[in-house]
Symmetry: C2
Subunit: 259 residues, 2 copies
């Protein structure tokens, strides 16, 4: 199993605090020592940092923490392999271009009969059930819409429908970003929090690191953080209902759909 982390905001925000919490679980506080990845959007494009090594002892993960890049949308993952070896090609998050923008995907769980999922134009580079499922999902969206859908709710409904089919019978907690919004499907375990004014202090669950968000934000900031397990010990996270999809945009949960 793996841990997921997503962040979706209305103002560019650095993900260092939450990523630190996640990275600790990558081989130090947790068993997720088979790789880590972090995708940071800049407009429609994502920069993706990947390493098939424990995040807790990774020089690149340290570099990313020491040189924070602000972003409106980020997806991160620490991996405990269940399918596929420990290698770069099997490291989440995965990215593909569709409609002139990057889609980024990370998964927690095991997809049932993943290899029999029908693929469209996208093909896995590695061996994981996760990347196969991502390619099937994106291929289905490319089949449904010729261009990037003008209606956010149409895209959300399609993601919810296809992800629901792919996840059926297996475990398919997943994050999917497109540069403008974040979809988060809860299959068994997913939590979120929206940080907004009045901002408070928060302390990481696994590490003695506290941030006073009031000191680093403006009253208009809104930051949604989605994680497999709550990352802080002194905030109230909302647990997901199995087989639902959250749709976040501009730091706000805009809708919850059956999936």
């Amino acid at each position: 199993m793996c841990e997921l982390l997503g962040m979706e905001c209305n103002v560019p925000t650095d993900i260092v605090f939450s990523f630190s919490g996640l990275a600790t679980r990558g081989g130090k506080a947790g068993p997720h020592a088979d790789g880590w990845g972090l995708a940071l959007y800049e407009g429609r494009m994502a920069r993706v940092f990947l390493e098939p090594h424990p995040a807790a002892s990774s020089p690149l993960a340290t570099f990313v923490r020491e040189h924070p890049i602000k972003t409106l949308l980020a997806i991160a993952h620490v991996r405990k392999k269940t399918r596929g070896g420990t290698s770069l090609v099997n490291t989440h998050p995965f990215a593909r271009e569709l409609w002139g923008r990057h889609f980024v995907f990370a998964h927690n769980g095991t997809v049932k009969k993943a290899k029999s999922l029908k693929l469209g134009r996208f093909h896995p580079i590695g061996e994981t059930d996760s990347e196969h499922a991502f390619c099937a999902l994106l291929g289905a969206l490319a089949h449904d819409f010729r261009d990037y859908p003008r209606s956010q709710s149409d895209l959300a409904a399609a993601v919810a429908a296809h992800a629901g089919k792919i996840g059926k019978g297996g475990t398919f907690n997943m994050l999917l970003g497109d540069g403008s919004q974040l979809f988060a499907r809860c299959s068994t375990k997913l939590h979120y929090i929206v940080r907004q004014a009045p901002f408070k202090r928060a302390t990481l669950a696994d590490e003695d690191l506290t941030v006073d968000f009031a000191a680093v934000t403006t009253p208009k900031d809104r930051v949604a953080v989605i994680a497999t397990m709550p990352l802080t010990r002194d905030e109230t996270w909302t647990a997901g209902t199995p087989d639902t999809l959250w749709h976040f945009r501009a730091g706000r949960l805009v809708r919850t759909l059956a999936s």
Copy 2:
């Protein structure tokens, strides 16, 4: 204009020496201060490091030099913008997945009427003529072959033909890698060298950095390096003939085609 760098080898090799020479031209010895990028293959997948800032003063470029990753195939680029603003989406090299592998592309020059080139399934994320040309080239290959062609010479011939059409009337020096081989098209200016036994010392053209390759190689190693301008001052580089395509595999120039 920009500078290109490619490396294609028969054993995993680090690109630090050549990348140092290129990075110096990114804002220190040269005018290519609008961004840099480095793609390093690991099997069929490429890791891509990009920054829309001068390479000479980039912390990430320094990190990459200090933590060398060995690879069989690398493509790097420093940018002096001619079309499109200074931003991440406009930074070379560009990457897309086709047939379950990454294709990586970097370009030097200006493509004539780039925006009127017919696109297939791949669409630009940024605004450059270069990325548009790459998407058109890859779309044409996806149209010609259903799967990754078994015959290397068939793929080389197709790349030469499509690149020749795209480059007609403009300047289209380019590098295209697929994880197993490297295609390098000379439109106006491109050079290569194959380093093999007996290895000698080499000194960077723009910096007082010398490497004794005999000390860091085995007699079986073969490393092809392709660059816009020769990177060293004490080796003999071969200049490309305009409108030809070099095909490198396992550190060897396997064929030269009209393009």
